[in-house]
């Protein structure tokens, strides 16, 4: 997570502690009751041999579920697929979202900007499942996308994207792109016009202005966006399942199976916590690098 410290000092440090507590208590109290305590229960479950709920057997504790990657070597391939999905989706979202956010923040003003901004969020006020199903209409053989291509280029063959890796990536990028646009946008609007003019006056060309001024300043937005995208994509199961066909087996779908049809909560929970740990390690590794970069910027 990006370090958000501005280092401002409190007017009344003696009361600062209580104030911080009062600000944090509602959010973390709420999360404690609805997420952390339930997840703690899940953490306990992940060390059980069988699902504690309704099992006739006595509770048996085991580490076996955390050895899943050893016991079930095929999971390594599944994890690799998930990682690839995460990287592709996050990368594409960054590549598309950042320029869009810059265009949104710098090239438009006032109401136009608000309207455009709203337009990017609007699609997300529809149900995700409906959107994914709509993608199947578009991507399937002889679907709307094929028909559109044939209008332009009648002789073209079928793209037949449905039930493939690209189809899953398209669905995921579509689902998560607004997060990137949003977080980048919030970073970009903070950049003063003067800063860019100053860089220009120092002789920086457009690409240089981008890499030396805009990019470092957008970094917090990019990082927040990447977290908001990469993390849930690793665990996503709806898009792979519906758009991926045979190849749509990811950590998300494996975990989902454990919680639905296979009724092996301990394994599903253990896989989730393993995944969470991996994600945390990745971000911890990156945050060191990022902090240095941010300090320079």
């Amino acid at each position: 997570m990006a370090d958000t410290a501005t280092g401002a000092t409190l007017p009344q440090p003696s009361r600062g502690g209580w104030r911080i507590l009062a600000l944090l208590a509602p959010a973390y109290g709420w999360l404690l009751l609805t997420v952390f305590l339930p997840l703690c229960a899940m953490l306990v479950f992940s060390f059980l041999k069988t699902t504690p709920f309704g099992s006739r057997q006595p509770l048996v504790f085991t580490f076996k579920n955390y050895l899943a990657f050893v016991d079930r070597p095929y999971l390594v391939n599944v994890a690799w697929t998930s990682l690839q999905l995460g990287l592709w989706t996050t990368g594409l979202c960054a590549a598309l979202g950042l320029p869009a956010a810059i265009a949104l923040a710098r090239a438009t003003r006032g109401r136009t900007r608000q309207v455009l901004f709203l337009l990017t969020i609007l699609p997300f006020w529809t149900n995700g499942l409906v959107r994914v199903f709509s993608w199947t209409m578009l991507l399937r053989e002889g679907g709307l996308l094929d028909q559109a291509v044939h209008l332009v280029w009648p002789g073209a063959g079928s793209l037949s994207l449905l039930y493939s890796f690209p189809a899953v990536v398209i669905g995921l990028v579509h689902a998560y792109l607004p997060y990137m646009i949003l977080t980048c946008y919030l970073s970009v609007v903070g950049i003063e016009d003067g800063l860019i003019d100053a860089a220009r006056s120092l002789g920086a060309r457009t690409p240089a202005v981008f890499t030396t001024v805009i990019l470092p300043l957008c970094l917090p937005g990019l990082v927040s966006g990447a977290i908001l995208i990469f993390v849930p994509v690793i665990g996503a199961f709806m898009e792979p399942r519906i758009l991926g066909g045979r190849i749509g087996v990811t950590m998300g779908t494996v975990i989902e199976d454990q919680f639905t049809s296979a009724y092996n909560w301990p394994l599903g929970a253990a896989l989730s916590f393993t995944m969470l740990a991996a994600v945390l390690v990745i971000f911890a590794a990156f945050s060191g690098v990022l902090r240095k970069r941010l300090a320079v910027a």
């Binding site: 069988t50 309704g54 095929y74 053989e141 066909g245 045979r246 199976d257 639905t260 009724y263």
Partner: protein, 359 residues
């Protein structure tokens, strides 16, 4: 005055307060004149005509809660004591539900329509535990092959999933029990207790080139088949009738020489129900031949466990064509699975799916 609220009251009050500030709740459950049925969605009990008819008959409104997987149904029964009055279970799950005291034994003499039940079902080992009956057999069906009419001919074995002629043209049901059972049939094993799981896994893995997708719902199947995504698939017998009748799909059902996987669903009484009498009344109505005929003609249904009901259908009815009595001999029914075996099925199926996915 000091008002003390415990946590439950507090959160409920808070929730209620929040809700009241806005413009009202969804339908609040009327205290008395309703019964709640736990079932798959769109599976007979929630047919509009049936709900209406039952209310006319008894004055009780029928509400529904749905599940999307069998373990989820059990979880819902466990975590909502008192919420359900009738539950529809695959009979393979009866012993598990009974062991957890989730369902009550049923006295079939209090269900008049049970007289017409076929004997094979009435005393089926799945529903009879310690000499007591824990469910009223309702409908049964088969999982076998559905093929695109005119395009696929001469198929008579599950080996079609390895036939080079159908590379990328096949679909499987994303269900561990069905998957393992099919391979068990193909390798000549007992579907409920296969001796050689490794052979089953290896057999399933040979399907890889032909399998284009794994479907998990009838709707998904219809849309994909309708969109031409595949030509051959494992499918439910009753669903084939619906696909033909409701969606005009050119699909035929066939039972390969290895046989079909049979299943039997039954109507159960949740142990915590407070309206068992009305529950039994609803169960009785569900196996009423008249209801069955209306269901079949209205939307399409699996085969009824009630011989009387089956006989009511015209001989030309699709459902009678598909569920021919002689097939019963070629069917192995899904039976009760011990926990560890069920888990072995699920683990193997997960491995097979990962194998299919990895390029």
């Amino acid at each position: 005055m000091v008002v003390r609220l415990d946590r439950r009251q507090f959160t409920q009050t808070m929730g209620a307060g929040l809700a009241a500030t806005a413009w009202g709740l969804g339908p609040v459950r009327a205290a008395d004149k309703t019964i709640t049925v736990l079932n798959w969605q769109g599976y007979g009990t929630d047919e509009k005509f049936a709900v209406k008819k039952f209310q006319e008959m008894t004055g009780y409104e029928v509400k529904h809660d749905y599940y999307n997987a069998e373990p989820e149904m059990l979880t819902k029964l466990r975590t909502n004591p008192g919420a359900y009055d009738v539950a529809i279970l695959n009979t393979a799950r009866d012993s598990q539900a009974q062991a957890e005291n989730l369902i009550d034994a049923i006295d079939l003499t209090k269900v008049p329509n049970a007289a017409g039940l076929a004997d094979t079902f009435k005393t089926h080992p799945n529903i009879t535990i310690d000499g007591k009956t824990y469910g009223v057999p309702w409908v049964w069906g088969m999982n076998a092959l559905a093929v695109r009419r005119d395009k696929v001919t001469g198929v008579d074995s599950y080996n079609v999933f390895t036939d080079p002629a159908y590379v990328g043209r096949c679909a499987l049901f994303d269900d561990a029990v069905t998957g393992i059972a099919m391979a068990a049939l193909l390798t000549g094993q007992n579907i409920n207790n296969p001796a050689d799981m490794k052979k089953i896994g290896d057999t399933l893995k040979t399907f890889k080139k032909n399998v284009k997708l794994l479907w998990s719902s009838e709707d998904e199947w219809n849309k994909a088949f309708g969109g031409g995504a595949f030509d051959i698939s494992v499918y439910w017998s009753g669903a084939v009738a619906r696909s033909q009748k409701l969606h005009n799909l050119a699909v035929d059902f066939l039972i390969p020489k290895e046989g079909a996987i049979g299943w039997l669903d039954n109507l159960c009484l949740p142990a915590t129900s407070t309206k068992k009498e009305q529950g039994l009344a609803f169960i009785n109505y569900m196996i009423d031949p008249k209801f069955y005929v209306d269901w079949v003609t209205g939307s399409g249904a699996p085969a009824s466990a009630n011989s009387a009901a089956m006989n009511e259908l015209p001989a030309t009815d699709l459902n009678r064509q598909i569920h021919k009595p002689e097939y019963l001999s070629k069917i192995q029914f899904m039976g009760t699975l011990p926990d560890d075996r069920r888990q072995a099925y699920n683990d193997l199926w997960e491995e097979v799916k990962a194998y299919y996915a990895h390029s």
